[in-house]
């Protein structure tokens, strides 16, 4: 457990806030921190910026994220990590699909891919145009940036998964990365796999200990906190009964994945 001071707060969208703090040490895109706000909770958050400063990007979905998004410069948070495996940086023509706050964990990957000379296509999707984070940051990378919105207010009118399916069917990609709502991710994974494209998808389950002990994030034979959160095609096949279908609640009962 390390305590860091927030250096800068950026409002990305009405409900996504990026908190910048000093470098947390060596990390790979796709890895996450356990972020502690005393008296509230400790939750996993993907790194949205790696290096100095580092950052997390918080979308308000509950008490802990609401409290985090209200923090200001100078406030302190506790952090553990970085944890998890992270993405493998590969492909000449990689295709990245980020849905909503899922764009956060893919942004540092896109930067690393671009720096390595790859030519990524990055599809960012959200419900409407005011909910798309990192557009400016990503457009500076010289990659092909495409947008989808559920309400058609910008870019492709419809679900990111449908647009991703169209783009993949046209061909030209050699690697697919996915991070976003599970039903979206599961559909893109299925389409990509049918086309024979290798996939890495970042999965989400209830993560409590982050060190592979407590079992709350178990999916099939894996623990998302330490065997993941990034699952490649082989691992995704191993969790076919669960991915996009069911997950454990806090007590360990199986419930349906509904978004």
């Amino acid at each position: 457990m390390k305590v860091v001071r927030i250096e800068r707060v950026v409002q990305e969208t009405p409900d996504i806030t990026t908190l910048y703090f000093p470098d947390v040490g060596e990390a790979r895109p796709g890895q996450y921190l356990m972020v502690w706000l005393p008296g509230v909770d400790e939750i996993p958050m993907s790194l949205s910026t790696i290096g100095d400063p580092s950052s997390i990007s918080v979308r308000v979905v509950g008490d802990a994220t609401r409290a985090l998004s209200k923090l200001s410069k100078g406030d302190r948070i506790g952090i553990r990590g970085p944890f998890g495996n992270g993405y493998t940086v590969k492909g000449r023509h990689p295709f990245l699909v980020g849905g909503g706050s899922g764009i956060a964990s893919l942004a540092p990957l896109a930067e690393e891919l671009a720096a390595k000379g790859a030519e990524p296509t990055f599809l960012i999707g959200a419900r409407s145009k005011d909910q798309l984070p990192f557009k400016e940051r990503l457009s500076k990378l010289g990659l092909r940036l495409v947008v989808s919105t559920d309400d058609g207010s910008e870019g492709f009118h419809g679900y990111a998964s449908n647009y991703a399916g169209e783009l993949m069917a046209k061909g030209g990609f050699d690697q697919v990365y996915i991070c976003g709502p599970e039903l979206m991710a599961a559909k893109i994974w299925a389409d990509a796999d049918r086309l024979g494209l290798p996939v890495e998808a970042s999965l989400e389950r209830l993560c409590k200990c982050a060190v592979g002990l407590c079992g709350s994030c178990a999916i099939g034979p894996y623990r998302v906190c330490s065997d993941g959160p990034v699952f490649d095609s082989a691992k995704l096949r191993g969790v076919a009964a669960d991915f996009g279908k069911r997950r454990m609640d806090a007590s360990g009962r199986m419930i349906r994945v509904d978004h």
Partner: protein, 261 residues
């Protein structure tokens, strides 16, 4: 070995539930579990695949202990482990391991209805663990598991408050080992039933030390954090290697060997 199952589903405590310390971890998960009934399907599935299952469970009344035992045995549990010793659920089910009369009564009640062997897991957070172990044996326990985690806490100097949301938690890992080893040693001098040692086992040498102190088997939890899930296979291989190199024919020959006068 399942996580502990109770009479009803529990979500457990909010985070932080785990914090690393020098030589181990503190946890205060708060017994999250789907409830005995909610777990039976998974238990049957495990048995369908031929997996040996020790079902750990807890309850707050004798009747609940009995109905839990019946349900778990009915679904095929190969053994039951009574968790009488979780330190993290104050005022709720849990710490009856501190009371000699309760331990004997609960153990006897479960034995009355259980078709499978019954292990009783004890707490190190007691004045006299030997008296408790004897009570479990008198109640008919088929084995004693020693020990659960040691009650502990961590305070963060920057935030000036306890780290665990539950304030206190249980210490596991290497730092627990010398305490747990002593417990196994003392219990071994007082009871005849087999002892399962646990607390800080992460390699074969730890396991052998527990066996020399009197344990017939060991449990590994926190070792997974240090060595991964491979820890179980590695410990088994290491014990076999130790036996071979030292001319022992069976693991039975080293159980309690350190007690020889």
């Amino acid at each position: 070995m399942t996580k502990s199952l109770g009479p009803a589903a529990r979500p457990g405590h909010i985070n932080p539930t785990v914090v690393e310390v020098e030589g181990g971890f503190l946890n205060a998960m708060g017994l999250p579990n789907p409830g005995v009934e909610g777990y039976l399907e998974e238990l049957r599935e495990l048995k369908h695949w031929g997996v040996p299952v020790v079902a750990s469970f807890f309850a707050s009344t004798v009747e609940e202990f009995q109905s839990g035992a019946k349900a778990l045995c009915g679904a095929g549990a190969d053994a039951l482990e009574l968790n009488l010793s979780c330190p993290n659920v104050g005022g709720e089910p849990g710490m009856c391991a501190a009371d000699v009369i309760s331990v004997e009564r609960v153990t006897a009640a479960v034995k009355q209805v259980a078709k499978s062997p019954v292990f009783v897991k004890l707490s190190p957070n007691v004045t006299d663990i030997v008296g408790i172990a004897v009570a479990a044996e008198n109640g008919g326990a088929d084995a004693i598991t020693a020990v659960n985690t040691l009650k502990a806490m961590v305070i963060d100097a920057d935030f000036r408050r306890p780290v665990l949301a539950n304030v206190t938690g249980g210490l596991s890992g290497p730092a627990l080992k010398p305490v747990a080893l002593r417990c196994v040693w003392e219990i071994a001098e007082a009871v005849k039933v087999p002892i399962i040692g646990c607390g800080g086992v992460s390699n074969w040498r730890d396991a052998v030390e527990y066996m020399l102190a009197g344990a017939t088997a060991v449990e590994i939890g926190t070792g997974v954090m240090y060595e991964g899930l491979e820890v179980y296979g590695k410990v088994n291989e290491g014990i076999a290697g130790y036996l071979r190199e030292n001319g022992f024919g069976s693991v039975k020959e080293i159980v309690g060997l350190a007690h020889r006068k």
